[in-house]
């Protein structure tokens, strides 16, 4: 259950950013989450609420944008979406393609703050 520690990192990061800008009140945190990041969205959402408790972000929301997984297929010399997070193969030729091009994102993109 590492979603809780990840949620705590997200809250910390957002707190630092809002303090750095003069103590803005954060309503929502926008996050990009890759399919291959090894993080379960639902677990992260419920952990986020817990992680916010007794911080300046209490009551804020986590908005998750999911990023599909993309691998490079050497046989096709092309980027292909992964079939699933369990099978790193090319969706066109079926060959092994384990070089991850996208899908490992876990990035705080922006904060939604009160003016």
């Amino acid at each position: 259950m590492h979603e809780l520690s990840i949620a705590m990192s997200i809250v910390e990061l957002a707190e630092e950013e809002s303090e750095r800008r003069g103590g803005l009140r954060v309503r929502a945190v926008h996050l990009r989450l890759g399919l291959l990041a090894g993080v379960v969205k639902d677990a992260l959402l419920s952990s986020y609420e817990m992680a916010c408790e007794e911080t300046s972000l209490a009551g804020s929301h986590l908005v998750v944008e999911e990023v599909p997984g993309v691998v490079y297929c050497p046989a096709c010399d092309a980027r292909r979406p992964v079939r699933s997070s369990e099978w790193f193969s090319c969706s066109a030729c079926g060959g092994v393609a384990s070089e991850i091009v996208a899908g490992k994102e876990l990035e705080v993109v922006s904060l939604e703050v009160e003016p």
Binding site: M1, H2, S5, I6, S9, I10, E12, L13, A14, E17, R21, L24, R27, A28, H30, L31, L36, A37, G38, V39, S85, E86, W87, F88, S89, V96, S98, I100, L106, E107, V108, V109, S110, L111, E112, V113, E114, P115
Partner: protein, 234 residues
């Protein structure tokens, strides 16, 4: 976006803080001449037994130490102390993985120049440790023959984040009807070209090659020559 709010751009990786600490650790390890190997696996795949053998067998030639992560208890550190290597337990409480800051903290007061190899045994878990860089030079993922050949397909992220796969408990392979070819095929599917080694800590099979691999990796990393030469320098 809700009314009455505005957006400020941040664009920051959530693992940034851990990655920064890991980078600093990696530099410290390199400067001190210590080669660092981390081990991940599911619980019960034989990390501690293999580590005990590793520490014991490397010791005549190298100065070795280990950090071991566990949710609770110091049993592993007690077991590893039998190797007479320097061992420290990191008890993580409820946290299911080690983070770079925990490694940094555990090493407080250690002079890394006194070491040639440092091993870090992560908490037994095939999911959580994959995202946390610990500043190691080499990450091993262990898989025992009793776990099923398709384990890499079930936990691709951790196999993809590791450098070397070690098949453990090979002495039980026949009893478990372990299919080596199928296991290697699974590993190859999630991480083509991955170095794969088969060992039995109990019988000692495969350990010579396994230990030689560390020696050659350490040599290739341009760390200072080990023990004898280090003693001469000092």
């Amino acid at each position: 976006m809700s009314p009455g709010t505005r957006i400020i751009e941040v664009r920051q990786n959530v693992f940034k803080q851990n990655d920064l600490v890991a980078r600093a650790l990696r530099e410290r390890f390199r400067d001190a001449g210590v080669f660092v190997v981390s081990m991940v696996s599911s619980p019960g795949s034989g990390k501690t037994t293999l580590l005990e053998k590793t520490l014991t067998r490397l010791q005549p030639q190298f100065r070795v130490a280990a950090l071991v992560g566990d949710l609770a208890t110091e049993n592993d550190a007690v077991r590893l102390a039998r190797s007479h290597a320097r061992v420290k337990q990191i008890t993580t409480g409820t946290l299911c993985h080690l983070e770079a800051a925990m490694v940094q903290q555990a090493l407080e007061g250690w002079d890394l120049h006194d070491l040639d190899f440092l091993f870090i045994e992560n908490v037994g878990n095939l999911v959580c440790p994959s995202s946390y860089d610990l500043g190691e030079d080499l990450r091993l993922v262990l898989m025992s023959v009793t776990e099923g050949e398709d384990k890499p397909l079930k936990y691709p992220t951790i196999f993809n984040s590791a450098d070397v796969a070690i098949l453990t408990k090979m002495d039980l392979a026949a009893a478990a009807e372990f299919d080596s070819q199928a296991a290697m095929h699974s590993i190859e599917a999630v991480r083509p070209g991955m170095v794969i080694m088969s060992v039995s800590a109990k019988s000692g099979a495969g350990l010579d090659d396994y230990l030689e691999f560390f020696r050659s990796c350490r040599a290739a990393s341009h760390r200072a020559p080990a023990r004898a030469d280090a003693a001469r320098r000092a």
